[in-house]
Symmetry: C2
Subunit: 152 residues, 2 copies
DNA sequence: TCGCTTATATCGAAGTTCGATATAAATGGG
DNA sequence: CCCATTTATATCGAACTTCGATATAAGCGA
């Protein structure tokens, strides 16, 4: 089991890395719940915010819900004014889901809450650590991009 | 709004960082569901794995559930053989929850799934990027530790 | 001991999710 | 152009989750 790593830094211990991410996420993910919206609901809003308008069925790929549950959930989101539904002009069977301004507001405010939270943590870092963190955002972006390719 | 940053690297753009973490988590968090366990259930298992035996009430602090929901959830976990309940020797009212070997197995296998997943992504990185990632685990650990102090 | 607090349990109502199935629009071969 | 098939969403009833209110029971302080 010799390492093929060329000694440019510490070996990459994936178990340690994954553990550190899991631990950090414990703090990062959990926000005070807004408007009594469930985890599933917030996930749908976040997906629509990130990927733009999509069909209901396409959401079943990312959200871990079956289609009937999504129909119910989206109906509620529409009643609450967070998502609008219109027929897909290209396919009369389908429905295009779009975040309303209010729906986007929720996603943005949750992002802002996380930024504020991380800002409080970062205050306690040294200048060197802060600089390292700055470089990290790009690397994470690379990983996400690779994931989008690799996971089909 | 002048930056007080000393020019050791790119400025730390928190909004970019938080966005990158959110995006990455989209891929990182979602695993194929094991044994039909819900998000709440998995979260409880993960917390018990990380912090060791705890009381039901202490779980209400981290899990976003009220006490009656946790009582129900834990009863199911006990029926399924994933946690064991015993009276707290220090307080006859309380119950100490401990992961069983089987419960730990689930947590470990989910960790292993994530490691395997990240391993596939990391293959596509350059040596420099891999080295940067190795250093990152420690930094995330620092942040988590700071969070544990700051968030009371 | 008594009264107050704290830890968990129980209960019924509201909300969520599922599998099975219905409806309705698209698509392709004849 | 029609029919059979496929695909997108909706509906339905059952099972499960979560909640607020309240019950039970153990600790705790005067």
């Amino acid at each position: 089991m010799a390492s093929s790593q060329a000694g440019r830094g510490p070996a990459l211990d994936l178990d340690e890395l994954v553990g550190a991410i899991e631990e950090f996420n414990t703090y990062f993910i959990r926000l005070p719940s807004v408007r009594r919206l469930s985890f599933s609901t917030l996930s749908v809003l976040h997906t629509l915010a990130g990927k733009g308008p999509m069909r209901l069925t396409d959401l079943t790929a990312t959200e871990q819900l079956k289609q009937p549950a999504l129909t119910t959930l989206v109906a509620k989101l529409e009643r609450d004014g967070l998502v609008s539904r219109r027929p897909d002009p290209r396919d009369g069977r389908a429905v295009l889901l779009t975040l309303t301004e209010e729906g986007m507001g929720i996603v943005r405010s949750r992002r802002a809450d996380r930024v504020a939270r991380v800002a409080r943590l970062v205050e306690h870092l040294s200048d060197e650590e802060r600089a390292a963190l700055a470089r990290y955002a790009g690397l994470l972006g690379r990983l996400t991009e690779i994931a989008a390719r690799v996971e089909d």
